[in-house]
């Protein structure tokens, strides 16, 4: 049985562009000099997710949670061990050569560190023109004009064409990376931590650029980040990953206002400037607690009960478009509400 986490189908929603159905990914664990396979690590576990046209979905999680890996699977850079990724309701595995090519054009990726992902020996013109020229999007003679148009769109002057990546600042390189993705005229852009390597003031420039481009070009985004405030700002929906599993999916504003998984709450209360402070779980959080049965988060969880070790919690709906994988989601949500009220009360008393 798969529970597909998608907005309530009775409403009139835009069509699904990308869908992950029960996607799992295992990495083999190799030991010894001969790389004998000693087992495997489950990097992603039963991921069900849909992406609708025009929406921005943020994938939120700690390092090692699998958020980047999931992004790579969705753009087709990695294949899942089991499960399917569908693009416009057709499984990627059914695609022929042509369709696969079209898919790779229509789903583009923007990376975190453009210093690493732009070839230092290529000029900006060649970097941005590489995709459309390989896909023969326009006649050769029109390429320069196309490149200029997209550089202009992201705010890079035309004089940059003959320059090399090292001549640009981090923010400008990120813009070039965005132009390289957008020139393919994609439907979906998967952006993997596109602002985390940038300075605060530049982060805001790039965030608003993403926002403007989405409206202008009618794009659909997957925004991979560990920054809660950025996720809340840019995303319509947020999906929270913990050690390879989805623990909470919901509308961005609601999920931040009423987090209902203990991990989401812990993330929120750890964010600098957070009003609600929960004591951060035992210092020994570093032990990997990936288990076959039971909740992955239980070793860090303040709400853990016997059942959490025995039964793996399924994602279930606690409100419209709000899904939580926690046996005690309701108690957890209530506890947060009480914290919130207490904070509000104290604030009221002070002023």
């Amino acid at each position: 049985m798969t529970l597909v986490l998608e907005p309530n189908p009775t409403h009139d929603h835009p069509p699904v562009v990308l869908r992950a159905n029960n996607v799992c990914l295992d990495y083999p664990v190799e030991t010894g000099a001969f790389r004998r396979k000693a087992g495997f690590v489950r990097v992603l576990d039963s991921i069900d997710l849909v992406l609708r046209r025009g929406e921005t979905l943020a994938l939120l999680g700690e390092s090692g949670s699998g958020k980047s890996t999931l992004g790579r699977i969705l753009v087709g850079l990695l294949s899942p061990t089991s499960g399917v990724v569908e693009f416009h309701d057709r499984s990627l595995t059914d695609f022929g050569r042509r369709e696969r090519r079209a898919y790779h054009r229509k789903v583009q990726m923007v990376f975190q560190d453009m210093a690493d992902s732009l070839d230092p020996r290529m000029t900006i013109r060649d970097i941005v023109a590489e995709g459309p020229s390989a896909h023969r999007l326009v006649p050769r003679g029109d390429l320069n004009r196309l490149v200029r148009r997209y550089l202009d769109l992201v705010g890079i002057p035309g004089s940059a064409l003959g320059k090399y990546p090292h001549e640009f600042s981090g923010g400008q390189r990120q813009r070039i990376g965005i132009a390289r993705a957008l020139i393919m005229q994609p439907e979906v852009v998967v952006a993997d931590e596109p602002i985390s390597a940038l300075d605060v003031s530049i982060q805001a420039q790039i965030l608003t650029l993403f926002e403007d481009l989405r409206k202008e070009l009618n794009l659909t985004y997957i925004f991979i980040t560990h920054n809660l405030a950025a996720a809340r700002y840019i995303a319509d929906r947020i999906a929270v990953l913990y050690q390879g599993g989805l623990v909470e999916v919901g509308e961005a504003k609601r999920l931040i206002a009423a987090p209902s998984h203990p991990f989401t709450q812990s993330l929120l209360s750890a964010a600098p400037g957070a009003k609600i402070r929960l004591s951060q779980t035992a210092p020994n959080v570093d032990a990997d607690s990936r288990t076959e049965i039971g909740c992955r988060y239980r070793t860090r969880c303040g709400y853990a009960e016997a059942i959490c070790a025995q039964v793996t919690p399924e994602n279930r709906s606690i409100a419209d478009n709000h899904f939580v994988a926690c046996h005690r989601a309701n108690d957890v949500a209530t506890a947060w509400k009480i914290h919130q009220d207490t904070v509000l009360m104290h604030e009221g008393r002070r002023s």
């Binding site: 700690e62 982060q203 608003t208 700002y233």
Partner: protein, 340 residues
């Protein structure tokens, strides 16, 4: 804020007109260009700025961790516990580093030595500076690891850095830095490479240790949220100079300098609906700072005077200071100014 004992207010670190220039073949880079800092015992000062603002180089200059072509210029003064350390020999400096003043770096994996156990690395300064025997150092190292919240410290002391997670490694770095009970701890973006949950644990530990050991902390960060959480005072750096300083609540809630204001307005928050207002443009080239205010080209309140003359520091109320012509009381203030 405690004002009980008088020595708590004692200044342990002071920089006057600190200028650190980089003498490159392509010109003189005036990266740190006249920084004044005062750090009191047991207090935490946040030094905030974007990359290239000179905040890290300020810390490296204080530690004496610079080499050609980077030079501390004539006339710069760095005083540690009343003693001028700007002109000390390498040997004299080495005697102070790790004992009276210590530093924690951003990337603990590159700062730790991969071929020694963490217990050995925590014990090393104890042997070098305090003359402990190996056995004494080992014992104390385990206590220190325990102090920074490493569970089962006796066993962990025999681990190598690669066996520890990022958060654990940063704890080890803190243990090394605090081993000899220094007067000043410089922390250069200590949590930037860490996850938020781990970041909050590390910040809590720093805050606890500051109280317990009365060490003064200079926390260098680009994250105003981190400053809000951990520091008493904050200094905002832009283009090699400090543009605003004061008590944390004062500066963060009533920012005066247009740069500080813009910085706060460009950060998304968890609970407001305000749209983001990015700061237009970028930082000018450090090889040729403009004649006047260095933020002028990006400032929405810019006047002719800003372009001609670098503003002096004006004292505001509640202990805040700001280097901006808008606060020159001698001049009639233009209307439609900063009061929002």
């Amino acid at each position: 804020m405690q004002t009980t004992a008088s020595f708590e207010q004692e200044t342990v670190l002071e920089c006057c007109n600190l200028r650190t220039y980089i003498h490159t073949r392509r010109g003189l880079v005036r990266a740190v260009d006249g920084v004044d800092l005062k750090l009191k015992a047991g207090r935490a000062l946040g030094l905030v700025g974007e990359s290239g603002s000179g905040k890290s180089l300020t810390a490296f200059s204080i530690m004496g961790l610079i080499d050609e072509p980077v030079r501390i210029e004539e006339g710069s003064v760095i005083r540690l516990e009343g003693r001028d350390i700007g002109n000390l020999s390498r040997k004299q400096l080495a005697g102070l580093r790790g004992s009276r003043i210590a530093m924690v770096f951003q990337e603990p994996m590159t700062a730790l030595n991969p071929v020694h156990t963490v217990g050995w690395q925590v014990g090393e300064p104890l042997i070098l500076h305090l003359g402990m025997t190996k056995a004494q150092a080992k014992k104390r190292a385990i206590e220190l690891l325990d102090l920074v919240g490493i569970k089962d410290a006796a066993r962990r002391a025999d681990d190598y850095p690669h066996q520890l997670s990022g958060g654990m490694r940063q704890r080890v770095m803190i243990a090394i830095a605090l081993a000899c009970d220094p007067a000043v701890l410089l922390a250069d973006e200590p949590t930037t490479a860490l996850d938020v949950t781990v970041q909050s644990q590390i910040l809590t530990i720093l805050a606890e240790l500051r109280k317990r050991l009365r060490v003064a902390i200079l926390l260098i960060t680009h994250d105003l949220g981190v400053v809000e959480e951990t520091c008493d005072d904050v200094a905002v750096m832009y283009a090699g100079r400090i543009v605003e300083r004061g008590p944390v609540p004062e500066v963060l809630q009533r920012p005066r300098h247009p740069y500080t204001r813009a910085l706060l307005a460009s950060m998304p928050t968890l609970d407001t609906e305000a749209t983001l207002r990015p700061i237009p443009g970028s930082v000018p080239d450090a090889r040729s700072w403009p004649k006047g205010c260095r933020f002028a080209s990006r400032c929405e309140f810019v006047t002719g005077r800003c372009l001609d003359e670098y503003p002096p520091t004006f004292a505001g109320d509640a202990g805040a200071e700001v280097a901006c012509w808008l606060y020159d009381e001698a001049q009639p203030r233009s209307q439609g100014g900063l009061q929002r």
